[in-house]
């Protein structure tokens, strides 16, 4: 049988086996001409185009524009979701006032708003940011509200009997207790953020990754389209890594997040 160390090495390479095989097969098929370069150019060609775009500075420009849109949308929508979630989670009155309305709006898919948004904002920067903000609002709102509501009442009782109240009760007990749930909301929001940005950028834009790919489609540059798609995958992964990092730092007291 294999030694434990060999096993670890095997385990570590195993997840990469399939991607490597697929890319090799793709490269081979494209190289011998089984795949037309209009359908799928060879991987080397894709990397070459990526390199060209990178050298010209075009790639970085589009990435920066898209990232900026994504994070402005996240800041507005997420910030609002967090604030309203804290409000409805903490005050019964606020819940009675807002929750029914918000639950109704929640059932409208953000992408269904695109025609309306175009009428309101044209194909302006604001349109894309608005779509992203609407999309990230609900995951953060729902999870913040739920997090506040599920803080252990025994801990709140204890803190109150120890003379902690008002803002300090909020800061030391309620908010940290809700934080695991809020961060789950943030991870969902980051996922939605890219999806919504892609769709709104492909519909109408003059810069950004979505524009870059749509523009490339016009010129039948499938390689550049692929570069754009890979970029989204990369940025999505990056956002996820950031969210995990935040979890590992803020929830380091929790044995479930402490290591790994």
């Amino acid at each position: 049988m294999s030694t434990p160390q060999k096993k670890t090495l095997f385990d570590r390479t195993l997840p990469w086996l399939l991607p490597v095989l697929l890319i090799s097969a793709w490269q081979f098929a494209a190289h011998v001409g089984w795949l037309s370069s209009r359908v799928l150019p060879e991987p080397l060609k894709v990397f070459e185009s990526a390199w060209e775009l990178l050298k010209s500075g075009e790639l970085l420009h589009h990435v920066l524009v898209s990232t900026r849109r994504a994070f402005i949308g996240l800041a507005i929508g997420g910030g609002l979701g967090l604030t309203l979630g804290l409000l409805t989670g903490t005050f019964r009155r606020a819940e009675t006032l807002l929750d029914t309305t918000l639950q109704m709006i929640r059932n409208v898919p953000p992408l269904a708003l695109i025609p309306l948004v175009i009428l309101w904002f044209g194909i302006d920067e604001a349109a894309k940011i608005f779509i992203v903000a609407v999309g990230v609002f609900f995951p953060l709102y729902m999870n913040t509200y739920h997090g506040i509501r599920s803080v252990d009442p025994a801990l709140i009782e204890m803190a109150k009997s120890y003379g902690v109240s008002g803002w300090r009760l909020y800061r030391d007990v309620i908010f940290p207790g809700a934080l695991p749930s809020i961060l789950v909301g943030l991870r969902f929001a980051l996922g939605f953020m890219w999806v919504l940005l892609i769709v709104s950028e492909t519909i109408s834009a003059t810069e950004g990754i979505g524009y870059m790919t749509m523009n490339a489609r016009e010129f039948l540059r499938t390689d550049v389209v692929l570069v754009g798609i890979l970029l989204y995958a990369l940025l999505g992964k990056l956002a996820d890594i950031i969210a995990r990092g935040l979890e590992r730092f803020w929830l380091r007291w929790n044995p479930n997040y402490a290591n790994a």
């Binding site: 801990l155 009782e157 940290p176 007291w253």
Partner: protein, 289 residues
């Protein structure tokens, strides 16, 4: 007719209250006057009268569901809506400021390190005391750990430190050792007793462990179905040893009284499984606790 007190105990305890009051001026004098408490239709406390002298250590024992924890929560100000009166040093308003409670579960904030848990609710300039009190419970070295990394006994020691750092004049203990193993519990008894003697607070302990009550308390009060049915002075020298004949005799006496009462049939589903042991003979129970 309001109380069916046992034999001479009421008289004995009043006399003892007077004698300890001279010695201790730090602890709160607590007096409970004809306290009733209802939850809907059900009357949980049916007229409780209890006087506790400053610095006295009183243990309340009884079956689960007898109302002993309710009484403690009323004294702590965690519940309201009772009839009757509670007086702290003769005043009617609850003295939350001087009272600290220790719960069955440690209720440490998992997102604060040990030392910050102890400092909870302290004004900033007193934070330094948190480390000092942690030293008293033997956990100074672990002050920067997360609570999740401590054992159950260590967590309760942190909870004890958190209560003591406020220099309470009345410490309420709501079955604080119920979830701990037997050896840790005996260690905690010694610790609680020594800190009680050092600080001089009045202590009110709710427990279902008769041996724990006799090991720690000046007086053992038995509550059954919302009434005090026994108020017994424990005149054994401290620290007390479980092996002594006098200890065992007292313990047996209290246990016999607990067992005399029929089980609380009105609410059988509320009984802990642990109470099955109460149906066994006294000797078996003594071995178990």
């Amino acid at each position: 007719m309001q109380n069916n007190f046992e034999e001479n105990s009421a008289v004995a305890s009043r006399a003892a209250v007077a004698s300890t009051a001279v010695a201790n001026t730090f602890g709160i004098a607590l007096s409970v006057r004809n306290v009733h408490k209802h939850y809907g239709e059900r009357e949980v406390l049916k007229g409780i009268d209890l006087d506790i002298a400053p610095g006295e250590f009183v243990a309340i024992v009884g079956r689960s569901g007898c109302g002993k924890s309710t009484l403690l929560r009323l004294v702590a100000g965690l519940e309201a809506g009772q009839d009757g009166e509670l007086h702290y040093d003769g005043h009617a308003q609850d003295s939350r400021h001087d009272t600290r409670i220790m719960f069955q579960d440690s209720r440490l904030l998992p997102w604060k390190r040990v030392v910050d848990n102890v400092a909870l609710g302290l004004p900033p300039h007193e934070h330094i005391n948190a480390e000092h009190v942690l030293g008293q419970v033997g956990l100074r070295e672990r002050r920067h750990e997360w609570p999740a990394r401590l054992s159950g006994g260590q967590r309760q020691r942190v909870a004890l430190a958190r209560a003591l750092v406020h220099k309470p004049r009345l410490l309420l203990l709501d079955e604080p050792l119920g979830a701990l193993d037997a050896l840790t519990r005996i260690e905690m008894h010694a610790l609680i007793e020594s800190l009680w003697r050092e600080h001089g607070f009045t202590a009110l302990l709710v427990t279902h462990d008769v041996s724990e009550a006799i090991a720690l308390a000046d007086r053992v009060v038995l509550i059954d179905e919302g009434r005090i049915t026994l108020d017994l002075r424990v005149d054994l020298p401290r620290p007390r040893h479980r092996g002594h004949a006098a200890f065992a005799a007292l313990e047996e006496r209290v246990l016999r009284r607990v067992l005399q009462q029929p089980p609380n049939d009105t609410n059988p589903d509320k009984e802990h499984t642990g109470d099955v042991s109460l149906h066994r003979t006294v000797d078996q129970v003594r071995w178990a606790v």
